[in-house]
């Protein structure tokens, strides 16, 4: 059973004129809100928001007087608590013009949000809770992280999309050119990686190690022949055929033989000349605007159509330079999706600041860390439980000292992770959970624990059958004789009568 308490330190700062009338105590004061996130019977996750209510300082007041929320966010950043996992909410008056019309919540690039006061304290608290969940974790993001433990059917399909937590990921960009006779495709992947992917990964380096590489595969075709559509004189891939697209390509992608990290594949497919232009249709038959789709826990594919030559006599092969900005925009969106950082369900009165160059806001990083920490703790618990089950099953298994010490280390790390979580130290908890995963996997996959190394008892018995069988014969015979005799003895007295 896993019992985790997630503590989020949260500061609620009231700007001038935004303090609700029905405050129970004068500012500053502390308050705690606890919530239970139900996963299953054996796993309980409680979230605990430790809120400190206070009023603004003079500096914060000056910052809040900025003209746009973006400027206010930038000005407020140096003034707040920047430890991972902590949140700062600035409450602005209901009539404030800092937030645009119709927007009640502005989530900045860092770990703060501007919230419009909503009359009573209860209304404000409801709104604050909503913001805090977006910025840290929601019940569904925790459920997705614990998807192994959630019974099937209770989970939304989106939750299955998220990548498993791992110590590292390998990102591979592949350009598929099935028709090198007609197209010579060039892509400036090196520049694009440095410009678009690197900033995101630098930010994510706290979560895991990332390695990026790319390759060009020729004569790699999709597994599905697209359907020709006369009306638009184009080729269409319907949504239901997409699952069959990947398999034949995957054989060519080449596995990551040199490392054990999961691979994220991003494929750019330039269709053959005889099949272009090629468009992907969604379930309703409408073309997908990005002409791309993603596969949960695997990666994404984008179809990149090449415009036909100006004149039919143009000599082949046609030279194509890929517009990397367009491609990378799609791939980065898919990358965020795979990490569970999509904000489609956020209510319309929320305004999320785009993270800009960095590709990832600070609070989004926290969001990932919360989910991954919980997932790591659950994984360690599962691994150690199955190890214990294995030991129960095979009595004479040998646990070497190094395996035992790994197990002890895993238990200690996972305990410290749980403690750190309940203290609100997100980073420390995450590091500890990572160590726990490493130790527990090392213990579990130790070659000395191979099931087959141990001689099963039933086979031992089979070997001794030549002994047991002849020895059993006289015993059984005499048993039969005893039975026969007792039966006779019982019958004899009746005969006498």
């Amino acid at each position: 059973p896993v019992q985790v308490q997630l503590v989020v330190p949260m500061a609620v700062v009231f700007g001038p004129g935004s303090v609700p009338g029905d405050l129970p105590r004068p500012l500053p004061f502390r308050d705690v809100k606890e919530m239970e996130i139900s996963v299953n019977l054996r796993t309980s996750v409680t979230s605990r928001y430790e809120m400190r209510y206070r009023s603004t300082t003079a500096q914060e007041e000056a910052a809040l007087a900025a003209a746009t929320p973006r400027e206010a966010d930038a000005a407020l950043y140096p003034l707040q608590d920047t430890t991972l996992g902590s949140l700062t909410m600035y409450v602005v008056p209901e009539t404030s013009s800092l937030l645009p019309q119709g927007i009640d919540v502005y989530v900045g690039k860092h770990r703060s949000a501007l919230v419009r006061a909503g009359g009573s304290l209860a209304a404000l608290q409801a709104r604050l809770r909503e913001v805090a969940q977006v910025m840290s974790f929601t019940a569904s993001s925790i459920a997705a992280a614990l998807s192994e433990r959630v019974p099937d059917g209770q989970l939304s399909p989106d939750a299955r999309r998220n990548l498993k937590s791992s110590l590292g990921y390998e990102i591979t960009f592949s350009l598929l050119n099935p028709d090198p006779k007609s197209h010579t495709v060039d892509w400036d992947i090196e520049g694009a990686v440095n410009r678009f992917v690197k900033p995101v990964l630098d930010k994510l380096s706290l979560v895991a190690n990332f390695s990026v590489d790319s390759q060009i595969l020729y004569y790699a075709v999709l597994g599905v022949t697209p359907r020709y559509d006369k009306e638009s004189s184009s080729f269409l891939l319907s949504a239901h055929s997409l699952p069959h697209v990947i398999n034949p390509v995957e054989a060519r992608l080449g596995s990551s033989a040199a490392s054990l990290y999961p691979v994220l594949n991003f494929l750019l497919y330039v269709p053959e000349r005889s099949h272009s232009p090629l468009y992907i249709q969604d379930k309703d038959g409408a073309p997908v605007s990005t002409n791309a789709f993603h596969s949960p826990r695997w990666g994404g594919i984008m179809v990149y159509n090449v415009e036909g030559p100006a004149s039919p006599q143009a000599s082949l092969p046609l030279h194509v330079d890929v517009d990397m900005a367009r491609v990378m925009e799609v791939f980065l969106a898919q990358l965020r999706l795979l990490f569970g950082l999509s904000w489609e369900e956020v209510p319309p009165e929320f305004l999320l600041e785009s993270p800009g160059n960095e590709g990832l806001a600070d609070w989004e990083l926290d969001h990932l860390l919360w989910a991954h920490t919980v997932e790591n703790i659950a994984t360690v618990s599962t691994t150690l439980t199955s190890l214990a089950q294995l030991l129960d099953k095979i009595g004479n298994i040998v646990i070497k000292d190094d395996v035992a010490s790994e197990v002890y280390r895993a238990v200690a790390s996972v305990q410290s992770a749980v403690t750190e979580l309940s203290l609100g130290h997100l980073l420390a908890a995450f590091q500890a959970s990572k160590e726990a995963v490493t130790s527990s996997e090392r213990a579990f996959f130790d070659p000395s624990l191979l099931h087959l190394l141990y001689f099963p008892d039933d086979q031992k018995f089979a070997i001794y059958i030549p002994l047991f069988l002849p020895m059993a014969v006289p015993i059984l015979l005499s048993l039969a004789k005893i039975v026969r005799e007792t039966r006779l003895r019982k019958k004899e007295p009746t005969k006498m009568d």
Binding site: P180, T184, D213, S214, I216, Y218, Y219, A257, L467
Partner: protein
Amino acid sequence: GGMAAAALLLLLLAAARPGPGRADAGRERRDALREELLLSPLPTGDVAATFQFRTRWDADLQRGAVSHYRLFPKALGRLVAALGVRELHLALTQGFWRTRYWGQPPLQAPAGAELWVWFQPTVTDVDKAWKELSNILSGIFCASLNFIDSTNTVIPTASFKPLGLANGTDHHLLRYAVLPREVVCTENLTPWKKLLPCGSKAGLAVLLKAERLFHSSYHSQAVHIRPICRDASCLALSWELRQTLTVVFDFFSSGQGKKDWSLFKMFSRTLTDTCPLASQSKVYVDISPKNKEKELLEVSPPPTSVHEAIVQGDKKTYAVYDLLSPSLFNTSRSLNVQLKWKRPQDSSEMPIPTLHAQRYVGGYGLQTGEICTLIYNTHPYRAFPVILLETVPWYLRLYVHTLAIITKGKENKPSYIHYQPAQDRRRPHLLEMLIQLPANSVTKITIQFERALLKWTEYPPDPNHGFYVGSSVLSALVPSVTAMKDVDVEQSPLFTSLFPSSDGSSYFVRLYTEPLLVNLPTPDFSMPYNVICLTCTVVAVCYGSFYNLLTRTFHVEEPSRGGLAKRLANVIRKFRGVPPL
């Protein structure tokens, strides 16, 4: 002797010095693919086809965290970068190249799997990197290379020098292993083909159809990765991946005694397409006239050009089909190279290669034996040294004092010997010798061994099949009969440019002898179970009678009236007047 040894070692060090790179029309490419097929009729009537695919990449694989691959396969590139590989040579071979009858091979490999790797000097734990590398390669090529461990790995000191650019040749960075038992089949060919930029979809690789390639007397596929000079000044490195595949088709026996062949007959395919990524794609057909007579054979269609070169000491003429030349596919849609013999060739004029060797196991019984190696130098007047590398598994215990090298009836003292004795279950014997071969001579090398008794779990599933001993390796600079010109490596055909050519007077040859199959004393594997059964039965019988003795109650039985026999006997007795029973 010592002088010659030093000279040979130095020569073997000489690395390939490629000439200036081909200027690519249009865009500047940093990688280039060349593909080539060499068809050579062998003296016995068989045909050898050697494919070579060479990807050259003007980038340093060792540096750079982000790697972007185009023609070079990512799987191998990452391997080289991650494990600090300087040079990698992997060959998977089925069958044996019969040098005596087929002549000097362009590229020979021992039967089974052969892997030799030079690591970078920066690699601290070479053994760990070697283990990891063999495991990964085993995954990439679906071969049992994961069986490479310390019992079959050796560190040769002289035989395997880097073929590419190398700063130092500290042989502790080298590892060499052969798995002679490895069976090579389709599952190894498919991943090999997958490494080609065009796959098997276009270009020469179209011919690589598994069902034909494995229906042959010899099949060898190899991967060679090495660093080479980027240009003549050699200031920067380029990496070269060479994928080679050699097959020998036996047409004499399968073709009703006719030695005519065509691409279609060999591969059941013809060439229709070029690989658009290749900067060079050529088919060479060896049409060298034998004995300076008139040409005996005729190729069709007419070749685009004729190339003359001195290969391995022989003057050779090749008909060249350049698949990239537009004229070739103009006349017909596909290229089916055919060769016809104008008149039947008499088999007596079979040329004998200058250097060839033979190896067998001598002796009788299951206790001792003898490994005999015969090395032939058929050169009429030149003597030359040869390095012999012998790797023998630990379970054949070599008696080094019995090592005898006899040439022309006299003892031939090797000028260099490196011997590393085996350790049981730890490492094999390694014997390296530099032997001078006098002109026109046979050198016989014998060494006796004792067969070890293995633990019963160490025997393979089929122990009576015998145990393989890997081929021994002969490396030599063979003096050339004809003087060779110094040619530009980057321009010359691929089949001439893997081994460094030292100077005009000699050429490098590496030969492998036959692998040996040695019987070891094998126990009766059913014995333990028999013993268990027998003991158990004895114990059970003893137990049964003892049990009966203890549990049965004995009582005296009253004599009964007797049966029919007794009554009969009494009647007879009555007649005889004897008292009844």
